[in-house]
């Protein structure tokens, strides 16, 4: 019996663009709904899906243009930022950062990037989105800077609190510690990754503190996760590396995929890891921590092949990893899988 089986796909108004981490998922348990976001060029497609599979509603968000005479601003990423007090949807593009209420109904904040008058060879864009701790949202920029926004409990008085300048190359992905264990003190709160494969580990606060810098090997880290103090990083080489966040010690190295990895996700309650790449494959792994030896074990559990598709987004739909969803370049659907 296969570990997972395919469910009915959700149709989306546009096809997914080939962008890293191109799937956002937010589970709204009280209302038995799940929100999904998929980026298509300058548009974010949002689908709200009821758990009984009977109701789907769609919405589209456009990238904000500073003025109509310029060409379209392409969106790099859309991601949900769940905070204790509220959930926001953050959309990053070539021109700036938009923050919405989680259902996409109202834009609560706009931050414009510094774009030069005449284009330079270095592209300008924002990419890499993460909620951290109680009230921060971190967004990466093509220069390597990370913008830290302070988010009030409600309202639109979001402010830029700090700019972290540690990375020298474009930010690719940012992720919070997601162990989901109340009372577990994690030293590191955040990990950020860049196009050179460099990983920075941070402690959040009024002033963010750099705990560690794990050097890359000249290969883009397109997707990164932080779970129980372990960094899980996916690279353009198709490899996945597991590091101890604060020391940088390499726990494991997986030759996981035959093409560029585009998305990683972790189900925090079960330790399941999801990886997806341009090679058409989604793989499910299991991570086991052994606190006594401070070691991490990786076991491979399952493969899914999405025929003739370069996958660009893959995420678990719940904290146990009971279900996951997948998007692919040029596909106008969100493919779903559930445990058998």
């Amino acid at each position: 019996i296969s570990m997972y089986h395919k469910e009915k796909s959700i149709q989306v108004k546009n096809s997914a663009s080939a962008l890293y981490n191109n799937l956002g998922v937010l589970r709204i348990a009280p209302r038995h709904l799940t929100y999904f976001t998929v980026v298509h060029a300058n548009v974010v497609n949002m689908v709200s899906a009821s758990w009984d599979g009977l109701n789907y509603s769609h919405r589209q968000l456009q990238s904000k243009e500073p003025n109509v005479a310029t060409s379209t601003s392409l969106i790099m990423q859309a991601a949900f930022c769940p905070l204790p007090s509220r959930d926001l949807l953050v959309v990053t593009s070539q021109k700036g950062i938009q923050m919405y209420e989680s259902d996409g109904s109202i834009m609560v904040y706009w931050h414009a990037l510094d774009t030069p008058e005449t284009p330079t060879a270095q592209a300008v864009f924002a990419r890499g989105i993460s909620a951290v701790r109680e009230s921060y949202i971190c967004v990466g920029v093509s220069s390597g800077a990370i913008l830290v926004f302070d988010v009030p409990i409600k309202g639109s008085n979001i402010t830029l609190s700090e700019v972290l300048k540690e990375h020298k190359e474009s930010i690719t992905d940012i992720a919070p510690e997601c162990s989901g264990q109340p009372g577990m003190e994690c030293i590191a709160d955040l990990v950020s990754a860049d196009d050179g494969g460099n990983l920075c580990v941070w402690k959040s606060g009024e002033d963010f503190q750099l705990l560690n810098n794990i050097p890359g090997f000249d290969m883009s880290c397109s997707s990164v996760k932080l779970w129980k103090g372990t960094v899980v990083a996916g690279y353009g080489t198709g490899q996945i590396h597991l590091y101890e966040a604060v020391t940088g010690i390499l726990h494991a190295e997986i030759n996981a995929h035959a093409r560029w990895i585009y998305s990683l996700d972790i189900a925090p309650f079960s330790g399941l890891l999801l990886s997806a790449a341009e090679d058409s494959l989604v793989r499910v792994w299991h991570l086991t921590m052994t606190p006594e030896t401070n070691s991490v074990e990786v076991a491979h559990l399952h493969n899914e092949c999405v025929t003739d598709t370069q996958i660009c987004g893959a995420k678990f739909c719940d904290g146990d990893g009971y279900a996951f969803a997948v998007t692919g370049y040029d596909l106008s659907e969100i493919i779903r899988y559930t445990q058998s």
Partner: protein
């Protein structure tokens, strides 16, 4: 996104255009003199210093409308004249070929090898005319100089920008269908077997380490594919074995039917052109590119010859060069949905700029009308 796509777009699309023109000119028994003149004129203009310098400036990749306009002008830099239906077919073939190459590109950096494959063949086309051959070499050197040192992440950004440009295009090409590179639904076939890209490891291995960095365990997992070690590295210099075959000339003189795009069951979309819907930036690029193709390079039209590139099943329509959206009869729901999406996409993609009331805007509009 990437500001460096234009030179690669024009060299690769232009290269595909030349492959098809070369094949069709031979298939139609065009005189050697005429064929050579056509190739030399187009290549000479495409690789002209002014035109290339404009392309090499950092800038966004604009719409298919703009690309098609410039490529049409390039084609008409020769004594050959293409009718609008031919130009549409030509553009479809060019774009689908390049989309295939970009999608299948093993590593993002291999985009350069694909480009160099095109340049290598173009060089062959004009080998009897050193003046033009030199222009090709000069451009090749510039490309090497500018792109060679870019990191992989930047190439992937470039590739992602190109993939957005090609998004939702599933025009079926008989040559691709015949060789099973493309499925009947228009999507390209992606293999889960074969050599991994250069510099990558064959998947299947998990290695675990102790705190001192020593490997303590090695285990294998089933990959669901059958992968092999990479083949040797391609050459990124001016001359050499590129190893990768993407970007080489697929068309041969012996199979004229291979340049057909499939009409039935597919969606044919000719981009709608109303000049004042182009963003100002895009019009400016168009003006600069047109201006950089020098007037004295343009041959006199009296010596030109009309060519019907492709035999079509239906009668030629008397359309302006850029007509309205032309929709084929469709038979299945999927195509209908796809059409709605594509039509919607083009409609939504139109900019609504403020009135171009400045005289510069009017000049650009007038120029567009002259085409």
């Amino acid at each position: 996104m990437s500001e460096r796509t234009l030179p690669l777009v024009f060299i690769n699309l232009g290269g595909e255009m030349l492959y098809i023109l070369d094949q069709r000119l031979h298939a139609l028994n065009t005189s050697d003199d005429n064929s050579e003149k056509v190739m030399n004129d187009i290549v000479g203009t495409m690789f002209g210093k002014d035109f290339m310098d404009e392309l090499l400036k950092p800038q966004q990749l604009y719409s298919h409308r703009t690309m098609k306009t410039v490529l049409t002008r390039l084609a008409h830099a020769s004594i050959m004249r293409l009718n609008p239906a031919s130009m549409d077919r030509l553009y479809e073939l060019m774009v689908m070929a390049f989309k295939y190459q970009v999608l299948l590109c093993p590593r993002p950096k291999d985009l350069l090898l694909i480009t160099y494959n095109h340049i290598d063949t173009i060089r062959e086309f004009v080998k009897d005319t050193p003046v033009v051959g030199n222009k090709v070499d000069e451009t090749h050197r510039k490309i090497i100089e500018i792109y060679s040192s870019l990191p992989e992440g930047e190439f992937q950004l470039l590739r992602q920008t190109l993939l957005i440009f090609f998004q939702d295009m599933h025009i079926r090409v008989s040559l691709f269908l015949k060789n099973q590179l493309q499925n009947p639904n228009g999507r390209f076939a992606l293999s889960t077997s074969g050599p991994v890209p250069y510099g990558m490891d064959v998947p299947g291995l998990i290695r675990t380490f102790d705190r001192k960095g020593r490997e303590v365990r090695r285990s294998e997992f089933p990959t669901g594919g059958s992968y092999t070690s990479p083949i040797r590295k391609g050459c990124f210099e001016l001359h050499g074995d590129r190893v990768i075959r993407l970007g080489m000339n697929m068309y041969t003189v012996n199979h004229p039917e291979e340049t057909h795009t499939s009409k039935a069951h597919s969606v044919k979309v000719i981009t709608d052109d109303t000049p004042n819907l182009l963003a100002k930036e895009e019009l400016n690029l168009l003006a600069r590119l047109m201006g950089s193709m020098k007037a004295d390079d343009m041959p006199k039209t009296e010596t030109g010859f009309q060519i019907n590139l492709f035999t079509t099943d239906q009668e030629e329509e008397e359309e302006p060069l850029f007509g309205v959206i032309n929709i084929q009869a469709m038979q299945d729901e999927q195509a209908a949905t796809q059409l709605a999406q594509i039509a919607g996409q083009f409609a939504e993609g139109e900019e609504q700029p403020e009135n171009l009331s400045s005289s510069k805007g009017d000049d650009l509009l007038a120029m567009m009308d002259d085409l």
